[in-house]
């Protein structure tokens, strides 16, 4: 019974193309997954309605948003690594005392003003390990 096809047993120059293709694919995945997906996104809600989503990784300089709702005014500072409420006119100042948040899943809530800032995305995706 003859072999269907005899393979070349020694490496050929074109093999480098396969290696290159695999490396390029790996680099493309790194760029797509780690580069694009790593950035945190801040979602600002007022009265339960999302008013703004900001891709924090694209912020080179911090920005301050003035948010007014239900008779109170907050100054929210958004920077590349997270967010914080700088000051608020609300009575209990819980939002200010929360300090700055930097991890996906964290949030700052000001109940009297019904304003919240939530971080999402980034490397945090709720999976600790993948076992094959």
């Amino acid at each position: 019974m003859p072999m269907k096809q005899s393979p070349a047993l020694r490496p050929k120059p074109a093999d480098a193309l396969v290696v290159l293709a695999v490396i390029l694919l790996a680099c493309a995945m790194v760029a797509a997954v780690w580069g694009g997906g790593r950035g945190l996104t801040a979602t600002v809600s007022v009265n339960g309605q999302v008013t703004e989503t900001v891709d924090l990784s694209r912020l080179s300089d911090p920005v301050v948003r003035e948010l007014s709702a239900n008779g109170y005014t907050l100054h929210v500072r958004l920077f590349s690594g997270g967010a914080e409420v700088v000051d608020s006119t609300c009575p209990n100042q819980d939002c200010v005392h929360t300090g700055h948040i930097t991890q996906a899943g964290q949030s700052i809530v000001c109940l009297p003003a019904r304003i919240s800032v939530t971080l999402s995305g980034g490397a945090e995706n709720g999976v600790d390990a993948v076992l094959g």
Partner: protein
């Protein structure tokens, strides 16, 4: 597909060999050198490469299906079937394509197969988990596949050299 007795026997032997290789592979302390889950040498791929060249894509496909099904049954883990089928079929498809090229050696074909195997397994993981988190792991696995693919290509080469003067090689 019509198989002669000789072909059927060879397919059965190769299936058994692939199963034995993936079992033996578990004992190699590769995880000491590369402490990452899912990183395997993929020794069973030697059989796929060999079958692809010696018997053609049809019989290589039969061997692969039998190997994946029996392997999952032996392991008592039918979840693993999805992973090995996705990985095995992707590798098989890519290698069947690459082996048509006269410009590629066993090394190129086998590295392409190893990389495709990892892509298939990541796809299976994404399907199982229902999110794209496993994608984070793919670049790493692709890097490792360059080495494991070259190694299985080398091993398959040894096999072809050893069979040089047998009836399999004689046209």
């Amino acid at each position: 597909m019509k198989l002669t007795t000789k072909q059927l026997t060879l397919c059965a032997v190769l299936t058994a060999l692939a199963l034995a290789l993936s079992y033996v592979e578990n004992f190699l302390p590769l995880s000491l050198a590369v402490p990452l889950p899912g990183v395997k040498l993929g020794l069973a791929n030697i059989v796929t490469v060999f079958a692809l060249y010696a018997l053609g894509a049809g019989q290589a496909f039969l061997i692969l299906i039998a190997r994946c099904t029996l392997g999952a049954l032996f392991a008592g883990n039918l979840n693993a079937l999805l992973f090995s089928l996705f990985g095995g079929l992707s590798a098989m498809a890519v290698m069947a394509l690459l082996s048509r090229s006269k410009h590629l050696s066993l090394y190129g074909v086998s590295i392409g197969g190893a990389a495709a195997h990892n892509c298939g397994q990541i796809a299976a993981a994404m399907l199982t988990l229902g999110n794209t988190a496993p994608l984070y792991y793919l670049p790493l696995l692709l890097g490792v596949s360059l080495f494991t693919g070259a190694l299985t290509g080398f091993a398959a080469g040894l096999l072809f050299r050893a069979l040089e003067h047998t009836s399999l090689r004689k046209a």
